[in-house]
């Protein structure tokens, strides 16, 4: 009977407190949003279920929890802390990204750069709120709106914050349909939103082949610390466009990226163990994340308006909002906002170009912030 009693004292029912309940509600909300609202289900569903799994209360010290050596969750989580899952996800992303509309209109790349300003503004805000520089840099990267990039940088600079930063980044990515449109409308005039973009020119295979090679050499020479992300990203893209290794490109864009996505989301979710996650810092991170996203959206739009002062052929400034790289959520929002003003305005392809340059931009920013805070 003693044994039974002891067992019962080790059940989750006995060990649970309000924090576990709270986190389980968060996890359930993520799952609800992913299934009922279909907000980024590939990200939110694994994370949401991971939150449930990570917040089953358990007796510590026997290799069960994600933060204990020898636990299965700990081994699976190693792909996060080592930075391998983000790299592998980027390999798959590269193998799925089509750069032809970007190559047809290289100016759009500037919008992908401008949208990164949210990162640096958030860096200052986080420092001002009292975060240490490495923490502040990890929080700032949320403004890049790129989940794997955020997780990668945080794993390198402030691994104790992986949980809250990942949850904040993915939450706001899921909430893009709610965050971005008001900002886009606030900062643009009706006539600006109605600007049409001409059809992109056809792009030759050679250009597509040169791009990943030139992109790698240029970006990684500039910020060598972005190698782990951009190295695999451009590698995946070259496999795709080369056309000579189709079986590898197909595996990279299916089995490999799916596997990394499943374990990345699941273990990041499980890393939100209540006692590690529910701290004052997490609240600060969520607040700063919202700031980061809004500034990023705004700076992309405003930069497009500034560009228009110098350009003959005006750019639709809505496209600036697609520079935040939440693929393809933000591109879809841009398209939909544009269509509300003028149903004949097709911004999607152009917005995708900004999106993919936003991915590159935030990976470079991660490299920059990492090298500022090394050692």
């Amino acid at each position: 009977m003693e044994l039974l009693l002891q067992f019962l004292q080790n059940t989750g029912y006995y060990l649970a407190d309000y924090r576990h309940v709270l986190m389980i509600l968060v996890g359930a909300t993520f799952i609800y949003l992913s299934i009922a609202k279909e907000y980024e289900p590939l990200l939110l569903l694994p994370i949401g279920f991971g939150i449930l799994v990570g917040n089953v209360p358990f007796f510590k010290g026997f290799g069960l929890g994600i933060y204990e050596d020898n636990s299965v969750l700990h081994y699976l989580y190693f792909g996060v802390t080592s930075g391998c899952y983000p790299s592998i996800v980027f390999l798959g992303l590269g193998a799925m990204t089509d750069f032809s509309s970007l190559l047809a209109r290289p100016k759009l790349m500037l919008l992908g750069a401008a949208a990164q300003m949210g990162i640096f503004f958030t860096l200052l805000s986080a420092l001002a709120l009292g975060f240490l520089p490495k923490e502040a840099a990890s929080i700032a990267i949320i403004g890049g709106a790129d989940g794997p990039t955020s997780i990668f940088l945080t794993a390198k600079l402030a691994p104790h914050l992986i949980g809250p930063i990942a949850i904040a980044a993915y939450s706001y990515m899921a909430l893009i349909p709610i965050i971005q449109p008001p900002i886009m409308r606030l900062l643009t005039t009706r006539s600006e939103r109605r600007i049409h973009m001409p059809d992109p020119r056809p792009v030759s295979r050679k250009e597509l082949l040169f791009f990943p090679i030139v992109g790698l050499l240029l970006c990684c020479f500039l910020a060598p610390a972005s190698i782990p992300l951009l190295g695999t990203f451009f590698f995946g893209n070259l496999m795709k466009v080369s056309g000579v290794v189709d079986r590898l490109a197909k595996t990279a864009s299916t089995a490999i990226v799916d596997t990394a996505t499943i374990f990345l989301g699941f273990t990041v979710g499980a890393s939100t163990q209540a006692d590690v996650f529910l701290t004052g810092k997490s609240i600060g991170i969520f607040f700063l994340g919202a700031v980061a996203f809004s500034i990023a959206t705004g700076s992309g739009v405003l930069f497009a308006k500034i560009l228009n002062l110098f350009l003959k052929e005006k750019i639709n400034p809505l496209l600036g909002a697609a520079g935040v790289s939440a693929v393809p959520g933000s591109a879809r929002e841009v398209h939909l906002v544009g269509q509300k003003e003028d149903p004949n305005n097709f911004l999607l392809m152009h917005a995708m170009a900004c999106n993919s340059s936003g991915v590159i931009g935030s990976a470079i920013c991660a490299g920059i912030l990492w090298s500022f805070n090394m050692g």
């Binding site: 290289p106 100016k107 520089p133 250009e207 269509q339 999607l348 590159i360």
Partner: protein, 135 residues
């Protein structure tokens, strides 16, 4: 430490300013270089094959019967992400509504073309799914 003091103490202004400059410069340069690709590719081609008469990319203007699939693939690139917004499975009416709502031309024909190209497939439950890469 909080506020501007903290920013100063941790070299915040320099980090933010330098970071912003670097990423803007970097992508601006990359943007400039890829804008030169067409010239560069042309140069490369001339060097490689000095014979000037034959057009370097004979497939640039495919014959009429090939055009159709190309256009479908183009249309698929454009509409695909929109269709994804309908969820994994959707009814045909929802798709029609979407196309009309967004004023896309010839919804019926486009849908039929997608169907023929295998991009649009019917599940066992009668719903439809969008297959980006038909096998």
């Amino acid at each position: 430490m909080y506020g501007l003091d903290a920013i100063d103490a941790h070299n915040g202004w320099a980090m933010a300013f330098a970071g912003a400059c670097i990423v803007l410069t970097g992508l601006a340069v990359l943007s400039f270089i890829i804008s030169q690709f067409p010239k560069f590719v042309g140069l490369f081609e001339k060097k490689a094959q000095p014979a000037p008469t034959p057009p370097p990319e004979p497939q640039a203007q495919p014959p009429a019967d090939i055009q159709a699939p190309l256009e479908i693939s183009r249309a698929a690139d454009v509409y695909g992400p929109l269709i994804l917004a309908l969820g994994e499975e959707f009814k045909l009416e929802a798709l029609h509504a979407l196309f009309r709502e967004q004023n896309l031309p010839h919804p019926h024909i486009t849908i039929r073309n997608f169907w023929n190209a295998g991009l649009l497939q019917q599940t066992e439950t009668g719903a439809f799914v969008w297959t980006a890469n038909p096998s």
